[in-house]
């Protein structure tokens, strides 16, 4: 047995900024090869699935919104679709369009926030968008105004952009008048042009050369880019409905993290803008396709750093889709379909800004929730983030501690980890062992 001398190097970042999640990273290196990568997420558990039990189904949209302040509509949409499956309701026509529209608003605000405020500073070498604004006087206000356009859609339809109040089983508590929607048009037209500029802007960033072998997972709908409806598909052979989700996607708990690891067919997978775009780019608008062609951006995108490009393309798509939906809108006769309560179990999956979000509810004959299960996109991506860090790590080992840690942070930021986590804390602990 050769004697081992362990050489431990600790790189500590007190906090990863511009991500939403509290994590520590532990990397074990032996003979200059990466042995082990543990990304720990210290999300103080808030037990939503547990306290939904005993609540009335009508309260569910207001409660689950509070899981995430950045993507409340995603939680509300997955919830109402799962509950409507139980009650045998299908929301069609103008109400379906309004749901798609408010979801577009959320994609725009969430993606613009990430592109401009959270990730762009990495590529341009700043600590924050506020610092970036000093040298990029035109760019930051453009991002803020884009975000505001998304918020304006959500506010008109939902009353406010954080935790909107109008989404309910069967439809909405109030639907807008056509002229109210038309009032958004000028700003959305400006935003569409700004979104084209955004795609061009991010396409010119310098990206590290990195292309892991991904299994992408997203919704797929025959006629449209997916938001609220579609089959769950993957790069590998998979095409299932949301009702079969739990038979294919497995959550494992790992000792070092409060998040659960998800696998499909035994392996990690990726959800979110990159996965959606690669599996659905045929449903993009001609303008979005044209911008990609002009910038020679070839699909599929295989580099996680290109997530910012995918997000920017989706901002453009969501703006064009919003304009299309507004153009054809006629105020529906009813704001919500009547609900006939019955007991049962329902599941739904919708495309949150960060990827597929699965909900399952079981309600009794009084409409009271007996059981709930929620699988958010970030916990689905966590295992994949670890794998990518493992692959990316070797090229960082020669760097001084601080720079290696910053590079790891930049990798983690690519995935836009979702907000409802506690304080950001990345403590990168590289353990080096060498056999001598």
């Amino acid at each position: 047995m050769p004697e081992k001398t362990a050489q431990t190097r600790t790189i500590a970042v007190d906090m990863v900024a511009r991500v939403e999640g509290e994590g520590a990273l532990r990397v074990t290196v032996k003979d200059e090869t990466v042995q082990d990568v543990e990304l720990r997420i210290f999300e103080p558990p808030r037990f939503f699935e547990a306290f939904l039990r005993g609540r009335h189904y009508e309260e569910v949209p207001d409660i689950v919104a509070r899981i995430c302040g950045i993507c409340p509509i995603a939680y509300q949409m997955s919830a109402v679709h799962a509950l409507e499956q139980i009650f045998g309701l299908r929301v069609e026509g103008a109400l379906r369009d309004l749901r798609r529209l408010i979801y577009c608003g959320e994609w725009i605000e969430s993606h613009a926030l990430h592109v401009y405020l959270l990730q762009a500073p990495d590529f341009l070498g700043y600590d924050s968008a506020i610092a970036m604004a000093k040298d990029h006087a035109a760019v930051v206000p453009r991002g803020l105004r884009l975000k505001k356009a998304g918020n304006a859609i959500m506010t008109l339809l939902g009353g406010r952009s954080v935790h909107p109040v109008s989404v309910k089983v069967g439809g909405f508590s109030r639907v807008p008048l056509r002229r109210e929607l038309e009032g958004l048009k000028d700003e959305l037209l400006w935003a569409r042009d700004a979104a084209v500029d955004t795609v061009r802007w991010v396409a010119d960033f310098e990206y590290p050369d990195f292309a892991p072998d991904y299994n992408y997972v997203a919704l797929r709908h025959p006629d449209e880019y997916p938001l609220n409806e579609g089959q769950i598909v993957a790069s590998t052979v998979l095409q299932i409905s949301a009702t079969e989700f739990e038979q294919h996607f497995v959550e494992h708990q790992v000792a070092y993290s409060n998040a659960l690891h998800c696998t499909v067919q035994g392996s990690p997978y990726l959800v979110g803008p990159l996965a959606r775009l690669n599996l659905n780019h045929d449903h993009l608008t001609p303008l979005a396709k044209q911008v990609l062609t002009d910038r020679r951006i070839a699909l599929p995108l295989r580099n996680p750093f290109h997530g910012i490009i995918a997000r920017s393309v989706e901002i453009l798509y969501a703006l064009e889709e919003s304009l299309r939906l507004i153009e054809r809108y006629e105020t529906p006769p009813l704001a919500a379909l009547p609900v006939a309560v019955r007991s049962g179990t329902g599941m739904a999956c919708t495309e949150a800004p960060r990827g597929i979000l699965y909900h399952r509810y079981e309600v009794d004959g009084d409409g009271v929730v007996r059981d709930a299960k929620i699988v958010p996109p970030t916990s689905q991506n966590q295992f994949r983030i670890e794998q990518d860090l493992r692959l990316f790590m070797p090229r960082l080992l020669h760097l001084p501690d601080k720079e290696a840690a910053l590079a790891c942070e930049r990798v983690i930021r690519c995935y836009d980890p979702c907000i409802s986590c506690a304080t950001h804390f990345l403590n990168l602990d590289i353990r080096r062992e060498s056999s001598t």
Partner: protein, 277 residues
């Protein structure tokens, strides 16, 4: 209070820090949703510590600390003490920090059972059995209610502090704002169990304006019945829900046990109706 040198031009830019505990980040997002005003705030104040928005994190002390989220872990109960030490003025932002938030529903439950519901290996999960507001742990100078907060109120309070004005926040009920907006009362005209009469104003009466009931996300109002600082008449509203609107006790209990369910006037009312179920 903050540095109030006579000459405005000689004043040091006050520093601002934003801290997060257990929450959904919606109130921090409300800060970012100030949009163009965000850049103005960045000029008027030194944003010294705001990890969500900047990787430039300066050490304390800070003139103003905004605190989002509730205390749910032993570690956080310890951390809030150090935040208090570093803050000249501490302002809680949102229902979690001010009242324990929606996750305070755990305070009526068996948290060990909760852990078993959510996690296959509950022994790995470190969590307190309660979710408590910041004011149960340290002194709080100002409270901004709301789930989420109203960004206009946030801008107002920060502006007042910087200008050396004593901040005043409205505490009367949503009904007053609702009437000013010209809404038809959803409680009286449609028989919907609206919490507006006992809920603090500040949101702009959003829910009734959107054709639905207020669900109390700005917490209990003050002073409508007996004067400033005194609780609203939840008992009377609860009786109306039960008697006139035919809600059974468990439904009345759920009305008050929501986003701000752990704050005393709502907590007491929900406990009373739970005892009748």
């Amino acid at each position: 209070m903050l540095d109030q040198s006579k000459d405005v031009n000689e004043r040091r830019r006050p520093s601002l820090a934003v801290f997060k505990f257990a929450s959904c980040d919606g109130c921090q997002l409300s800060i970012l949703n100030l949009e163009e005003d965000l850049l103005a705030v960045g000029q008027a104040l030194d944003i010294a510590y705001f990890p969500e928005a900047s990787s430039d994190m300066k050490p304390g002390p800070y003139d103003i600390a905004l605190v989002e989220g509730s205390i749910t872990t032993a570690e956080d109960a310890h951390r809030i003490l150090s935040v208090r030490k570093q803050a000249n003025v501490l302002i809680t932002i949102g229902a979690c920090a001010t009242a324990g938030g929606i996750q305070a529903l755990r305070n009526w439950a068996d948290v060990e059972a909760f852990k078993r519901t959510v996690y296959p290996s509950p022994e790995y999960i470190q969590s307190l059995s309660t979710s408590t507001p910041i004011s149960e742990h340290v002194h709080v100078d100002f409270e901004l209610w709301g789930c989420p907060i109203d960004k206009g109120q946030l801008l107002r309070i920060v502006t007042d502090l910087v200008a050396g004005v004593q901040p005043r926040l409205p505490a009367d009920s949503v009904c007053l704002e609702c009437k000013r907006r010209g809404n038809v009362c959803v409680l009286v005209a449609r028989g919907i169990p609206c919490l507006g009469p006992v809920t603090r104003t500040g949101c702009g009466a959003i829910c009734p304006s959107m054709g639905r009931d207020c669900y109390g996300c700005f917490g209990p109002s003050e002073g409508a019945r007996k004067g400033p600082g005194l609780p609203p008449n939840t008992a009377s509203l609860a009786k109306h829900f039960h008697g006139e609107l035919q809600l059974i006790p468990v439904e009345v209990m759920r009305r008050f046990r929501g986003i701000n369910g752990y704050v005393l006037p709502f907590r007491a009312e929900s406990d009373l109706w739970e005892s009748k179920t």
